[in-house]
Symmetry: C3
Subunit: 435 residues, 3 copies
């Protein structure tokens, strides 16, 4: 093994992890406190915050399931790499939510030198990890846990800056984060690297089911939250039909391809993100899902091979097809829906859905700027991060050790036993495999 | 392969799926709009609708998990048919909820030519797909995706008519839908066809856990919703004990049978459906669950073989034991509980639980009529649908290709790899299987 | 097979199960009724109870998932013992919640000879089963279903007494039940017996995600509930980082051990239990999680082998490392946080979080007494239960039949088919295993 590949995590990884945690504890001691609604001393004048907390907590738990089970099991397909897929997903998410709370707090919520955490902080912290997890899908199998911690640190930092730029400075709308999470995470990850992964259907289903909560969780006006749920629900449903139809259509024998089903059926959720709380009506949501299912499936079939052969970008994982293109579609849908917004349609609630109170056309322009910023920052940030991760110190595995749990995990002799640790449901399965 | 079995889905399936989706988009454009609570222009006089939405949304997500994960993984046992089981479950549910929204809207909620979708529409749309998914269990492995789309279309149409007849015309009560979903879906499916399937325990658990949400989600008065949760919780618990007891009792060595455990433990949820919001008290719920666990397990052991040998109905899947008989039991429990209802027990709330405001005995008569109607329409509708599905154009597989994913799915060379796509958790498992 | 091992469950098990259920139905008929909020006749003066019910129901469902999926799949690793792990988990939980409702009702809520069940009864009933399920982890594979029913009956009885002693008599605080459930269940189980089990990561994730609901579900004041969620969220996140770090640190090649990851990442939830609703601030929560991740991982690596070799306690399952030591850590954190409590920090809400209204030091003393009582009752009760379970009549398996489903389950010839019943997701997997 060449000197440049010092993959041993001995001391390096635990010292980094403990140091990061220690720094975070100190920063939390300095900056983080409870929101007034959760502060015994201050709650009595803030009981309305409690009402809100009870309404949002179920959505928070749905988002939590998406982050930890949905994303976790979406990337466990690779043979001999199941431990790393789920295990590193948990590591990235647990570290990312702590760092995301700080970054988003500093940028959005610093007041008298303190960040007050509430239920929205928790949801936004979960959200910020989603970017890192999408990018993880693009570097899976070729990165050490040290590299992943560093990537998470850098990506969430850049994500928080971009999100601040898009939603606060530009005041572009992106409630379901088509642009700031999905497109951003996809292009950031593609810029860092790219690699094969294939999702599991169980992960797909948990994402599919809870996507209405994801797209609605941070909408502030209740009727907007209600619309975000309805719109996402229908967009996802339509997307399933076109994903199935296109999967059959592009196959020369008319058969379905499970890889399409597991990815493209989710594209409707991604694409509905930006305009989820707008008055696009159920048929508009169906149209978005309809289109997303088509471009995602067609992307898998035709675009990915062209990328690989012509552009030398080996995006066989489909991050581009599931998060990238549908994220851009979501951004475009948001531009169109913003341009069409008026008091005619929204009544006096127009200012609640579009707090910047611009004309439709002007808001559409800012939406376009938000989309452009997200793509630009993703590609630039991802490229820079890619270079930083190249430093050999971080323990990147050499090519022949890629996609193998054994390099980072203690795999006991009775290998079959250990495999069951992941899934746990098939106590008896391997008995036969061994026989 | 005989000419009559033209199983290729090439063009036929994608054209049908896209055509259906296109028609639905047009119909949504014509008929569907947001409920006032989700309409930015109208929300300001309807904020009470938002309160209700927040209370019900968690239950909607529980029902969603039941439909997509519960039913999905309940039917994935068949070897070489896992792709189709989960994949077609998603297809049926995604199409069914769009069609169900229209059918139920036309029958129940058409006002000034518009259907306003709210959180109850979404729940009812999910509910309507449950009927099709139960019937799917009875035709699994022997039907093409085209046949499944047609069956879903027809069954949800008939279901919506029957549900309108039972709950609106007859004003029979069936909040947890023992009669209108479970018994209906089972006998509809049995009338269409019947075939082997065996459920997975994970699917069972997701159904078991969230059944209180299912039985309570559409109860209108809050105390009734509360009771529906408590009653269903206890009925399910008692059912577990008798299912285990009977499973051991009917085995000559006293051993347990996993097929019984996976099915009969759910019968308590089915049987509690009709009377879930009535004042049956926890001991009454325990009694219903107690009885359901017994008849379901006994049905599996003794009735299914008799059906097969004497009646030539090969219901080895147990739809009859899990949904059919317990559904009828639920209908009967509803008749008894209705007959015993009085202001003595319900106080001034009697009219909330029984809006028809009939005497107990009269209401019991209408309950019986509702049960009879559900069974009759299921058997007649299922038989007619069965004949329609026989048209060879729909691509039904010939006997030798039944229960094989390969006929409708692209299965790559590295077959073992592909299998993992479904479950995703066992990256390393098959390594050994191949060795 | 020696006479003393009469493992056949024929008649013995079904008669016991049906008898228990019959007795419970009679007791429910005598003692249990709906809470006023769920009682049609009484609800009209109690609509505030309905508001509370809607706020808590989502947390109840989260706890439900932890009990039935989390615990269930945490213990299914053992080869040839998957049926028993998940199947008996369901049996224990379903029986335990019925018995727990009665025991806790008699001790806490008996009024005019009646126990009124509400959403908190349901949650507490689920909680009481958790103790039995933790202990189940310690006797898994060596006990018959009869023994498990008896153990559940005895343990929940003793648990309810201890919980009454600690929270009502001593008025020690333990909202997330570090002491009364986790430490109690672990030491009770260790006193009954000890045995190998290894958890599955899926179970871990469901527990990890929903732990904030577990630790907050029964907190009465809303701001305390809010804090319990925030504190648990951060404690779990910090625990992940130190568990990963220590797992790598204690390995001589710096690799990670999946057994540590699957257990120690949860220790932060256990340890945050007692002080979850106290004003310990997010950095305090991080510190608790930080410490829990360390002691749990170190326990697995060093303490468990010492226990086995020196003390002859073969706790290879790690109940002591996941529930025992972190439970004690949680108790100690509660002592410290109580000692530091003052109106300075809590304002007028001090009495809501500490209803006993003692000085901080005095409350700390009672907290210590609560911890001591939990440990003492667990060890004494567990030892007595262990002796009771030794009676040969209960059908304990002989050593050579331990850890084998075949002794209690009907395992068909096509063994591979049957295995899939558990997991259901891999229809095609075993095809290759057999080839």
């Amino acid at each position: 093994m060449p000197v440049s590949f010092s993959t041993s995590m001995r001391f390096k990884f635990p010292i980094l992890a403990i140091a990061l945690e220690a720094v975070i504890i100190i920063l939390y001691g300095l900056f983080i406190t409870y929101d007034d609604g959760a502060n015994s001393r201050l709650v009595h004048n803030n009981t309305d915050k409690l009402e809100h907390f009870y309404k949002i907590y179920p959505s928070f738990q749905d988002v939590h399931v998406m982050i930890f089970v949905g994303f976790g099991f979406l990337m466990t397909f690779l043979k001999k790499y199941g431990f790393s897929s789920v295990g590193f997903n948990l590591l990235i998410a647990a570290f990312g939510l702590q760092w995301g709370t700080l970054m988003q707090g500093w940028l959005h919520h610093l007041k008298d030198g303190k960040i007050k955490v509430d239920i929205f902080s928790l949801i936004n912290a979960d959200f910020s990890t989603a970017t890192a997890l999408i990018s993880f899908g693009a570097v899976l199998g070729k990165t050490s846990p040290i590299q992943l911690l560093i990537m998470t640190l850098l990506e969430i930092t850049i994500f928080a800056c971009n999100e601040h730029l898009v939603t606060s400075v530009l005041q572009a709308k992106d409630v379901g984060a088509s642009m700031t999470i999905h497109a951003f995470g996809a292009y950031f990850g593609l810029a860092v690297s790219r690699v094969l992964y294939r999702p599991g259907l169980q992960g797909t289903l948990f994402l599919w089911m809870f996507w209405p909560s994801f797209n609605s969780a941070i909408v502030e006006n209740p009727d907007g939250q209600y619309r975000a749920i309805i719109n996402t629900y229908f967009s996802l449903a339509a997307c399933v039909l076109t994903a199935y139809a296109l999967s059959s259509l592009v196959d020369k024998k008319g058969k379905l391809d499970m890889v399409h089903i597991q990815n493209a059926t989710l594209a409707g959720g991604v694409a509905a993100g930006t305009s989820a709380d707008m008055m696009i009506y159920p048929y508009g949501s169906l149209l978005i899902g309809f289109t997303a299912g088509i471009i995602s499936t067609v992307g898998f079939k035709y675009l990915t091979p062209i990328f690989a052969s012509k552009l030398k970008i080996h995006d066989t994982c489909g991050v581009h097809n599931l998060h990238g293109m549908p994220g851009i579609l979501g951004g475009i849908a948001g531009i169109i829906a913003s341009a069409m917004a008026s008091t005619n349609v929204y009544g006096v609630g127009l200012g609640l859905t579009f707090p910047a109170r611009r004309t439709g056309i002007l808001q559409a322009g800012y939406q376009a700027a938000g989309l452009g910023a997200s793509l630009a920052l993703a590609l630039i940030g991802g490229t820079i991060t890619g270079f930083i991760l190249c430093i050999s110190l971080w323990g990147q595995p050499p090519d022949q050790n890629c996609f193998d749990d054994d390099i980072y995990w203690e795999v006991p002799d009775g290998e079959t036993e250990n495999e069951n640790l992941l899934s746990s449901e098939h106590g008896r399965q391997n008995t036969n495999a061994e026989a």
